[in-house]
Amino acid sequence: MRYIPHTAADVSEMLERIGVKNLEDLFVEVPGSVRLKRPLDLPEALSETELLRELKKLAAKNATPSTHMSFLGGGAYHHFSPAAIDLLVSRSEFYTAYTPYQPEISQGTLQAIFEFQTMICQLTGMDVANASMYDGASACAEAVLMAVRLTRRKRVLLSRALNPRYRATVATYCLYLDLELIDVAVADDGRTDLKDLAAKLDNTTAAVVAGYPNYFGVVEDLAALSERAHEAGARMVAAVAEPVALGLLKPPGELGADIVAGDGQSFGLPLAYGGPYVGFFTVRQKDLRAMPGRLVGETTDLDGQRGFVLTLSTREQHIRREKATSNICSNQGLCALVTTIFMSLLGKQGLREMAGQNLAKAAYARQQLAGVKGFSLVFDGPSFNEFVVRSVEPVADVLGRLEKNGILGGIALGDDYPELADCFLVCVTEQNQRSEIDALVAALQGGAA
């Protein structure tokens, strides 16, 4: 076996040094009654050639942007990722290292995380960012738990326009914590209904949670939501599933958000059928000690040189155990590095330009689709790179027809929103050429004729 170096001679010399007769003697503490008395029933080992042949066969059965024109979004986005990123994160000093518990030989990872924390704060307009969470949905759940800890309240208001998978994840995390999760309705413009929010907010509410932009691609009036939340003494949690939008949109920190949780997948991470992605998590300075996850801080070494260490770890499970702010341990370090390199390469101008392209392409697609007979736009609130389309023809038929034309046209909304059973969610990014958008429109027209 190429990953295991021991020769037969090595094994016998080692056994002799240990003072046992055979390998079996090393397992004397494992009682016979629990021993597996047959070989593992797994296929024979494959060579590299055979393995890659098999995997390529599996890979060929999947539809990707190289086989289909894709308008899928809904929390995972097909974006440009500069070539330098993958080559840099493929340096094995990065990807084969452990969590930087020994700072003297982990300064590369530590400085990169410090840069990640800095850029995530700049992007969101918040004071403190941690060194990452699993993904946007679990980060959102942790934000809810943090708001509950800080307010010692038990009621949580979730906008129905928040990504339904984020809402489901929040519900799982809260299953047995004796909390009350309440949906807030969506208004006609696709934003969270402020009247419904006002009716449901009270002085037992711990948090108000909304997407920014929300699941329908609509930009919430976050300032108004925050104001209402704060009047009731609740925390405002903004969930950002599409951080490219922050290249143009006002940062949530400027609009009163207390916690901003989101997903960094758009910043250079491959779609990879849903993961690994990376959650980001930011808070106000005053709430620092209640935040979950790892933090890297700047300090100096014995010679006075600048260096970085994991810090404030008494919040974490390895020290505080059952009283920790979260059970999170290893999470998505390398993915955070990917987003750090992405943000460095795109920089101030690039992120704005990319966001502008998303906005323009989606606006063009909206305009074109609105003109197709049998289809209409559902929400008129300001939107970024996603929007909801209503169809006279059953949604499954429309998407099936598009698929025959080599187009993944969008995500059907009926499963998550029964009232939108005749609707689907379309996402257009800078990766979609005008010709693809025109093809989508033409294919839709084809069916309506």
């Binding site: 076996m1 094994v11 056994l15 090393l26 397992f27 503490e29 021993r35 597996l36 797994l42 024979e44 080992a45 995997l55 599996l58 890979a59 539809a63 990707t64 894709s70 899928l72 979004g73 929390g75 840099l88 094995s92 000093e93 990065f94 990807y95 290292a97 003297e104 590369g108 800095t118 699993y134 993904d135 679990s138 994840t169 299953l175 491959p270 993961g275 690994p276 801080g297 700047e298 970085f308 810090t311 404030l312 505080r320 920790a324 979260s326 059970n327 999170i328 341990c329 290893s330 370090g333 390398l334 993915c335 943000m343 460095s344 920089g347 101030k348 690039g350 323009a360 300001p382 800078e430």
Partner: protein, 486 residues
Amino acid sequence: MTILGNSGLVLNEKLLFEHSDPGRKGYSLPKLDVPEAALPAELCRDEIAGFPELSEVDVVRHFTRLSTWNYGVDSGFYPLGSCTMKYNPKVNEIAARLPGLADLHPATPPHLAQGILELMDKLQTSLAEVSGFARVTLQPAAGAHGELAGMLVIRAWHEARNSTRSKVLIPDTAHGTNPATATLAGYDVVPIASEGILTLEEVESHMDDDVAALMVTNPNTLGLFESNIEEICKLVHARGGLVYCDGANLNALMGIARPGDMGIDVMHFNLHKTFSTPHGGGGPGAGPVGVTEELIPYLPGPGVERVGDEYRFETDNAESIGRLLAFHGNVGIMVRAYSYIRSMGGAGLKHASEMAVLNANYIRARLEGVYELPYKNRSLHEVIFSDKDLEGGCHTLDVAKRLIDYGYHPPTIYFPLVVKGAIMIEPTETESPDVLDEFCDAMIAIAGEARDNPDLLLKAPMRSKVRRLDETTAARKPRLKWEGSE
């Protein structure tokens, strides 16, 4: 003895922000082929203050230099206990980057994602075979995330029986995630003492009608097999509880014994430990969870299932605890773990566990007597020493730092908490006896230095990019982001 650690040219590197020059670009985008659009002005931000402006060369040099300040498994021996820092096969990296796997959107209709679903189904079936569980979910993103899934499943099982049990028993040797997770599942934690391994009497003395579960790690964090595990599981079951196993140390047992056969009800795997996926400087990993037949309905979902020749997501999951992530889990990590299992085969996995245990026992044989060995039972895949016999006023931390000068990553230190000054060494199977010998020689030399010239330890490391860092000031006056040059 040849000392691996040497000095070399280490380049300094500023923070990204200190390099930034207005107007520099490190990207290219196609020309916009549709009319420009604008959002209402009141929604728009000013430029992102402080965001860097760099060329591609700036960025590439920056991160290349940063990488040279790190130490990875590819750099050298990484004997971190309970972390299983085995070699990360390169073909797995190629596999995960195949465009048909890497570029697949999670909302792709299942009939156009049959390849990945087949891989996921085969991986969960393989993990079930290795562990002896009836079914495995792949959704959790990390070990602690798997623990959460597992403890919620246990709670859901109790709730379905109208049981309102409120306590979880956790041995004092457990990883900190265990008690933190039990709290997240709404349980009160009852710590229980162990004497190396758990005794039936100790568990029995705590096992009452209010105990929902016992959380164990097997082999435990002392590297010892919980040899009373069957009796303990029987006892817990007889009193109406369930047994959770932290699978962090599964690398000792593949093909040898299966947790599912021991009476354990739920266990999480760490694909980034046992199944060779890289640790990434702190993730991403993956924490699949295996359960017995009875607990299948409560697993997080939706899971992947095979129906005839079709792979699809389950639809009948009314009792499921729900989802723990936005999508289907860390699929890129699953691809790597699947590649590993296919490259090893069943016999190869067993061989890996045998060699991992052989390596740990070899280190134990060479270092026993030089460092104190607090537990004498036969070690499995890792061995724990302490600093009790160390001279010259030196402690575990100093040994760890001195190992850096010798060119090694230090072992896990000061864990488990029950051993004062613990030094926890897990060599894994991918290290040759030559590497182990060099490492042991270094450990022996360091014990001698502690006696003859303790300053070498107390001032270590001397050869690293930075020396010991002031963690006290970092915590007292936290600087958690760059705020401009002073």
